[in-house]
Amino acid sequence: MNPLLRIEDLHVDIPGAAGVLRALRGVSLTVNEGETFALVGESGCGKSLTAMAALGLLPRAARMRAGRLALDGQDLTRFSQRRWNALRATQVAAIFQEPMTALNPVLTIGRQMTEAYVQHGLGSETEARRRASELLERVGVLPVGRRLAQYPHQMSGGLRQRVMIAMALMCRPRLMIADEPTTALDVTTQVEILRLLQELQRDTGMALLLITHDLGVVAHVAERMAVMYAGEVVETGPVAQVVTQPAHPYTAALLRCLPVQATRDRPLVPIPGVVPALFGPLEGCAFRNRCALAGEDCAGSIPWRERAGQGYRCLRDEVPA
């Protein structure tokens, strides 16, 4: 499989009134062509920030301190604003969590769908409209003619997310970044949107980088995954392995927190304590203050280890599932 997106040792700082927040501390991951890669973690772990970095859209205050970004062998690290713009939509497209706010309320769906196509010189306004119609038809936003003239507020959340997806597909990107695309939706709508994404991926062959906190969604749609905690990737590997035999204690603990029917007769085991503050340099394992397996050796530097296709950052060999 060919690697499409490579992120290597990414460090991002966010200076603020309370000090410099080390938001990302050496994140590395690779998304291969055509695959679905899930980036999983709880709020504040840096998963969205990583995705935004891959779009060149870090928040204004954030600084990329170190690391390399590459798309299909092209080094993006020193890209100018103009080259980023040329890349977005045509190579990397994105959809976001809140379909209610991600579309501009004062512009029609048609206008918002076609503008990037025309801007990137892929065709005329007429051609853009034709492609928009085809895509709306494909994602099931019907009747197409009327929908193109509508404004976002005239549609339900599920429909808007479909519009977002169609819009992201306009310029035939090779990678779609989906940042919590179904979190704001009802569960039945969530399944519809996930199915749609799967089908579209099969049709177009694009890769999908799925950012989510929901391990259930990951298990159903992703092939490989990375788990983030406190600005670091703590574990990565094929979904089937990571979810059933976690190698990192945090992944295991997260799974024990899920109140799903499969674990009905097992008690919930909450993770005690809270995430450490990420100000200043952090030595050792960030999870050790909440980890049942932690010892004094966890305060030192922790190597990245590999085992049977799984990579993880932990000293312990056996992690109880």
Partner: protein, 273 residues
């Protein structure tokens, strides 16, 4: 014997006001809702957005008035209770841990509030009770004089639960109390609920869109769809084999973290929409 909470054929609609002079139409939100909740039980209400589950909570809390039907607390219409008697019987816990605590008041003030309003306690007794309750919900005493801004989301939700329990109510109305929390924090709060049920014998109306959470916590389950309770029953029976097509759809849409399964088919044959 009367159930602790009974809702009888409640109908409720929101009037849409068309301008200053217009009358407008009424949008039905609750349609002939009936339910019974026995002392010591947890009744889980599950449904998607717009199903009317939060409206049901607000109705029971007397924040809304039904067009017809009745809400009975221990056999007595809840509208006949004095504010004090009602507060002593029913208390709420809300979804948003940020909106549910006044940012300008300390934890001590927030937790004393229900006791001050109940009026039966001297200052010394209020302080003792607040300290005991902090321990009970797992918050350190040193937070007593801090403000909500100094707390994490999970800690805030503990405060909200503590505030609801201060007057030892007989019925707790929880409207999506864990939905705004991360799963690890959600697990902490669900565990707290388990402990509190054991210690206080809580009776609870627990509303959530998350079937897995409901399954963990509820003895009985009610499924709401478009303002109606389309199915209700004992928890284990329900999860073993839901009867209504919508319940089955809801259950099959819940995705467990088990790899290798395809996404379910969620066509809605009964509801061409």
């Amino acid at each position: 014997m009367n159930p602790l909470l009974e809702v009888r054929n409640a109908n409720l609609s929101f009037p849409t006001r068309r301008g200053l002079f217009g009358r407008g139409t009424a949008v039905p939100v609750l349609r002939d809702v009936s339910l019974r909740l026995e002392t010591g039980q947890v009744l889980g209400i599950v449904g998607e957005s717009g199903s009317g589950k939060s409206t049901l909570a607000r109705l029971v809390l007397r924040l809304l008035k039904a067009d017809s039907g009745a809400v009975l607390i221990d056999g007595q219409d809840h509208r006949d209770l004095s504010p004090r008697a009602f507060a002593a019987a029913v208390q709420p816990v809300f979804q948003d841990p940020y909106s549910s605590l006044n940012p300008k008041r300390t934890l001590a003030q927030i937790l004393e509030m229900p006791l001050v309003l109940a009026g039966d306690f001297v200052a010394e007794e209020r302080r003792t009770r607040v300290r005991a309750m902090l321990d009970r919900v797992g918050l350190p005493q040193r937070l007593l004089h801090s403000y909500p801004a100094q707390l994490s989301g999970g800690q805030r939700q503990r405060v909200a639960i503590a505030r609801a329990l201060m007057v030892r109510p007989r019925l707790l109305i929880c409207d999506e109390p864990t939905s705004a929390l991360d799963v690890s924090v959600q697990a902490q709060i669900l565990q707290l609920f388990d402990e509190l049920r054991r210690d206080f014998g809580l009776t609870c109306l627990f509303i959530s869109h998350n079937l897995a959470v409901i399954e963990r916590i509820a003895d009985r389950v009610g499924v709401m769809y478009r303002g109606q309770i389309v199915e209700d029953g004992e928890g284990r029976t329900f999860f073993a084999g839901p009867q209504h097509a919508y319940s089955r759809l809801l259950l099959s849409s819940t995705l467990p973290p088990i790899p290798g399964r395809p996404l379910p088919d969620v066509a809605r044959p009964w509801d061409a929409n």
